[in-house]
């Protein structure tokens, strides 16, 4: 008789709670990757997360480290306050595109400019999920949302914000990468980027940000499979993947 060999388990960095995320949403993948990296780097017990406002507002119920909830867009400022008084702890924020790229753009840009030694995990699914599918600062041209019902018209509503390219300009930013969660190969690269971003903080090199292209099947009005395809077909051309900065 052969004993059962577990090949896939819940990482200790994830709680046993059922998530409130919709079927096919990639937040679960991003949470798991974060928890695995914190566990593998041996820093889970000295990490403090900063949750934001949006679908990931309850990230603190799922990732098993100390957590604080921040006001909409202000997570990098809250993380700054934490890191300045607890410089030997690992501080990360977990923010969506409305939170980070719209209302919180000032906070994230200045945290990067100051070279705050924090890690920012940026979930870009091109839409406001929690409030029911409004146009986001990262919605591609033509995207139909509840607040761009005939499709985003750049002449009226402007163009998507490319956060990595913006942050990479900041001298205080040490590690900036954009990855995607739409297939297993990209998910493995996303984990490597998260690992690099936390190592960047552990080594005191400065500000680190990882953008993860994600899905929102519910508000995109698609099946989970179609949503993954949409990331590849509609988001990748606007948001090219890659490592934008890696200061040794």
């Amino acid at each position: 008789m052969i004993a059962e060999q577990p090949v896939y388990e819940r990482p200790i960095g994830l709680t046993a709670a059922y998530t409130h995320y919709c079927p096919g949403c990639t937040h679960g993948i991003a949470h798991r990757l974060t928890a695995e990296v914190l566990e593998e780097l041996g820093i889970l017990g000295r990490t403090i997360g900063v949750a934001s406002v949006g679908c990931s507002v309850f990230a603190y119920n799922y990732i098993a480290c100390d957590f604080v909830g921040a006001a909409h867009g202000r997570a990098p400022a809250v993380a700054t306050g934490l890191k300045r008084v607890l410089p030997d702890r690992i501080i990360f924020t977990y923010q969506g595109d409305g939170d980070l790229a719209s209302i919180g753009l000032g906070e994230v840009l200045h945290a990067a400019a100051r070279g705050e030694c924090i890690t920012v995990i940026f979930i870009n699914n091109a839409i406001y999920g929690m409030t029911g599918g409004q146009m986001a600062p990262t919605s591609p041209a033509g995207m139909v949302t509840t607040s761009s019902p005939t499709g985003r018209d750049p002449r009226q509503t402007g163009h998507p914000v490319r956060v990595c390219e913006l942050i990479a300009q900041m001298d205080g930013a040490a590690y900036v990468a954009r990855r995607s969660l739409h297939n297993p190969a990209e998910i493995r690269r996303a984990k490597k980027a998260l690992r690099a971003a936390f190592e960047c903080q552990m080594n005191g090199r400065g500000f680190a940000l990882v953008e993860l292209l994600s899905t929102c099947p519910t508000n995109w009005g698609m099946t989970p499979v179609d949503a993954l395809r949409w990331v590849e077909e509609r988001m990748l051309p606007v948001f090219p993947l890659g490592e934008f900065k890696n200061v040794p």
Partner: protein, 367 residues
């Protein structure tokens, strides 16, 4: 410690340091900027945290972050900046974090001006942000008192896990007068049991102001209100002058109380039975003491450097048992003792007319 000639903003900054300030986050705005400048030099000298934030919005959220770690955190600003901080103030209140905020009031509304004013009274005591909460508000009238109340502010903030606002105006921030700083306090308190520090060896902690279920949020609100009731019971503070035999009681806070005191002294020299009631805590307002005085005084005169804000609290305490008049100057105009004395004389004249019957009509005498 010896008495030294100290500037208000700098005295508060040094008093905060000696009270164990761990972290300061601020943004330049007149008339509080010296506080930021002073701490920009002193905090790094002592190995403590200082950040000039990109905005008041960011500054208060940095305070929130440092407070989540159980550290003594402070910011300072003036009206326009306090308006921007209201979001963060509400989150601090909701998450029950200790924090100290200094508001050095200037003229408003809008950009207003940079002259001294008391027009943030409502903003601070009533609506320092969305949702049901009131910060504890301390209003010193001298630089010595500002120093003392700065130390008290941190103690109260931690005792009640509460937002405490030190409310002064541009006069007190900018002026110099002799005062004595306290010695450095030992500040080696362990991490509070609610603070985040990393979950090694214990269950993970969460600090949030989010309670999605209405019943849960109601329970949280009731808890906050219960705490406010305890604070109202224990922490009402005021100073009085000539109250024992006063027919007319002048009520004023902060630097308006200094002007009012000159006028009260002058009125006493003329033989008028006038006293001064000076609230030190604006929230909780010293209701109990005023309620005791209400049946004995013939009238109250509230003097403020605004259009009449604290006067509403005085009216609530007096509850119609005596007339409450108001005298104020607006827009950062300095009021002079002579003007207040005239208002006192007028109130005394009006009161005498009807002293044996119903007390005088409650007519406004604002210029």
């Amino acid at each position: 410690m010896a008495r030294e000639l100290l500037k208000g903003n700098e005295a508060i900054a040094e008093a905060a340091i000696r009270a164990g300030l761990d972290a300061y986050f601020g943004y330049p705005i007149t008339p509080q900027t010296e506080l930021l400048e002073y701490l920009a030099r002193r905090m790094p000298e002592l190995g403590r945290a200082f950040v000039q934030a990109e905005s008041e919005v960011a500054a208060i959220n940095m305070v929130y972050g440092a407070a989540c770690a159980g550290k003594r955190a402070m910011t300072s600003s003036s009206g326009p900046g306090i308006s921007l901080m209201q979001e963060g103030l509400s989150y601090i209140a909701g998450a029950e974090l200790p924090a100290v905020v200094v508001d050095v009031m200037r003229g408003g509304p809008g950009l207003g001006n940079i002259a001294a004013s008391q027009s943030d009274y409502f903003q601070v005591t009533r609506s320092a942000g969305h949702g049901d909460f009131r910060p504890l508000t301390l209003a010193p009238a001298t630089i010595q008192e500002a120093i003392d109340l700065t130390g008290l502010a941190f103690d109260l903030a931690e005792r009640y896990r509460m937002l405490v606002i030190l409310l002064i105006d541009g006069n007190l921030g900018q002026m110099m007068e002799p005062a004595e700083l306290p010695p450095f306090r030992q500040h080696t308190s362990p991490t509070p049991e609610w603070a985040v520090s990393g979950a090694e060896g214990r269950p993970h902690r969460i600090i949030t102001s989010l309670y999605l279920q209405p019943e849960a949020l109601e329970r949280h609100n009731l808890k906050l209100q219960k705490k406010l009731a305890v604070i109202a019971e224990r922490e009402q503070r005021f100073a009085g002058l000539y109250l024992e035999d006063a027919d007319l009681i002048v009520v004023a806070f902060g630097s308006a109380a200094r002007v009012a005191q000159n006028a009260v002294e002058a009125a006493r020299a003329q033989g008028m039975a006038v006293g001064l009631f000076r609230p030190i805590t604006l929230s909780p307002f010293p209701m109990r003491a005023l309620e005791r005085l209400a049946p004995r005084a013939r009238a109250f005169l509230v003097v403020e450097m605004n259009a009449g804000q604290m006067v509403e609290d005085v009216r609530l305490a007096v509850a119609g048992r005596a007339p409450v008049r108001f005298y104020g100057r607006l827009g950062g105009v300095e009021m002079l003792p002579d003007e207040v004395l005239q208002a006192i004389e007028q109130a005394m004249r009006d009161t005498r007319v009807t002293k044996n019957g119903a007390r005088m009509l409650d007519a406004e005498v604002q210029r």
